[in-house]
């Protein structure tokens, strides 16, 4: 199927984009890589009046070093994330998760910002952004900017803190101090890359102990979640297989996974425990 008719704008700067969004009428859709939006428009699940295509807004692409954080432009493609040296150095978890996203064709066009703004519960990058305490820089009508922490950005199923007329500009990922290990552990069907459940773990080790663990859960509810109970159990625990296995048992606490063709809620809870154990074990370097 082909999308319903729409008016098309292709701005070249953020200011032009904000103007095009403001001028676009009642139902405006921002298009980043189009890898979620075009399929949805083809199925006529979305039929916007205006599409504002960000693909020519060069200032939204690329990764830069900003002292205590790296800053990833919303339009940086999954492919460009995978080859970026700053991400490899400071946030390898992002690259590791991105590698599991879709396939090379989709990764050539799909973007980091688009995947986060889309906020699909089965998408891999929201849980990673949450685990890394990323911050979302958002531009609004007239160009005013605000910053939203990841914990407040993901509001509900396919719903973020982005308001009408706003645009996600960039994502700030704080650099972590100390010795951190990271790992993304994903469970999916072979012919479909979407996560049934996945776990993003970042672990700081100190003197044979786990000083701090951050655990993001993919597809364990309508939004990405932190496994707070498991994080608390790991803080100060021995960096041993037994201690990690014990802590991972609380990984599904406070989650509300759905039941669908890929698995029932109780199966997902089980997966969260198993995958948390594996992810933390790998991140702790065991």
């Amino acid at each position: 199927m082909i999308p319903a008719p729409f008016a098309y704008a292709r701005p070249t700067t953020v200011d032009e984009a904000l103007q095009a969004i403001a001028d676009g009428g009642e139902d405006v859709k921002i298009m980043a890589g189009g890898q979620s939006l075009i399929p949805v428009m083809r199925l006529r699940l979305a039929a916007p009046e205006t599409v504002v295509d960000l693909s020519k807004v060069a200032e939204l692409r690329g990764v830069r070093d900003d002292g205590d954080a790296i800053v990833i432009g919303a339009m940086t493609t999954h492919h460009d994330v995978l080859v970026d040296p700053l991400i490899a150095q400071h946030a390898p978890l992002i690259a590791e998760a991105t590698e599991t996203v879709a396939d090379r064709q989709v990764r050539a066009r799909g973007t980091f910002g688009g995947a986060l703004a889309h906020a699909d519960p089965a998408g891999d990058l929201p849980a990673v952004a949450l685990a890394l305490d990323a911050e979302f820089v958002i531009a609004g009508p007239g160009g005013a900017r605000r910053t939203v922490p990841a914990a407040d950005f993901f509001v509900d199923y396919l719903t973020t803190a982005l308001e009408e007329g706003e645009l996600l500009v960039e994502i700030r990922v704080p650099k972590l101090a100390g010795e951190w290990g990271m790992h993304y552990e994903k469970f999916n069907r072979v012919a479909q890359a979407w996560s049934i459940v996945a776990v993003a773990a970042a672990v700081r080790r100190e003197d044979g102990q786990i000083a701090e663990a951050r655990i993001g859960l993919t597809n364990m509810g309508p939004t990405p979640l932190r496994a707070r109970a498991a994080e608390a159990a790991l803080a100060g625990a021995a960096a041993s297989a037994d201690a990690i296995a014990a802590a991972a048992q609380s990984a599904a606490e406070g989650t509300s996974p759905s039941s669908d063709l890929n698995g029932q809620a109780d199966y997902r809870r089980h997966l969260a425990q198993v995958l948390t154990r594996r992810a933390v074990t790998a991140a702790a370097g065991l």
């Binding site: 098309y8 396939d103 090379r104 064709q105």
Partner: protein, 167 residues
């Protein structure tokens, strides 16, 4: 209607398209490039894969207006003066197809993979073409074909460059 300028398989085109026209439909219906096929409605199958500005993309998931000012290569543009591209030749020789519907996309994805990784292992080939589904072959001979093509493309390059980037 929006006017676009696109180079497709080495030929410049200026055309009017509706913004909602998918690149694959522009290629097939306006330019007659029917070598590129549509296999699904969900951006899953990869049958429609072409190269846009040097990268493999699913042409059912790109708008024709987004190719404005760009360069597209389809399965119809990779043979040189009647001589098959090494990947085309390898698919033929290794029986990398049965019904052939997935083949244009498989070949375009494989060329993209080999550009990045000229000597992929079996696993790397399987991961490299994970965005392309085949209902017939069971993939075995497709993987063999891609590896055979890799060998041939390496052999045809000057020895010093066989491990380097190759287009």
């Amino acid at each position: 209607m929006t006017q676009i300028n696109v180079r497709v398989d080495g030929v410049s085109n200026t055309d009017d398209v509706e913004p909602r026209t998918l690149l694959v439909h522009y290629l097939r219906e306006q330019l007659g490039k029917v070598g590129t096929v549509v296999g699904c409605d969900t951006s899953n199958c990869g049958a429609c894969t072409v190269h846009l500005d040097g990268a493999a993309v699913k042409s059912c998931t790109v708008l024709a207006v987004q190719a404005d000012g760009g360069e597209v290569t389809t399965i119809e543009g990779i043979a040189q003066e009647g001589v098959l591209h090494p990947v085309q030749k390898a698919f033929h020789e290794m029986h990398g197809l049965q019904c052939g519907y997935c083949t244009p996309g498989m070949i375009m994805a494989s060329i993209d993979l080999l550009k990045e990784n000229p000597n992929p292992s079996e696993t790397e080939v399987r991961e490299g073409i994970e965005g392309n589904l085949c209902r017939c072959t069971g993939y075995q001979n497709i993987v063999r074909a891609v590896q055979q093509a890799a060998g041939e493309m390496a052999g045809s390059a000057p020895a010093a460059e066989t491990t380097g980037a190759q287009s």
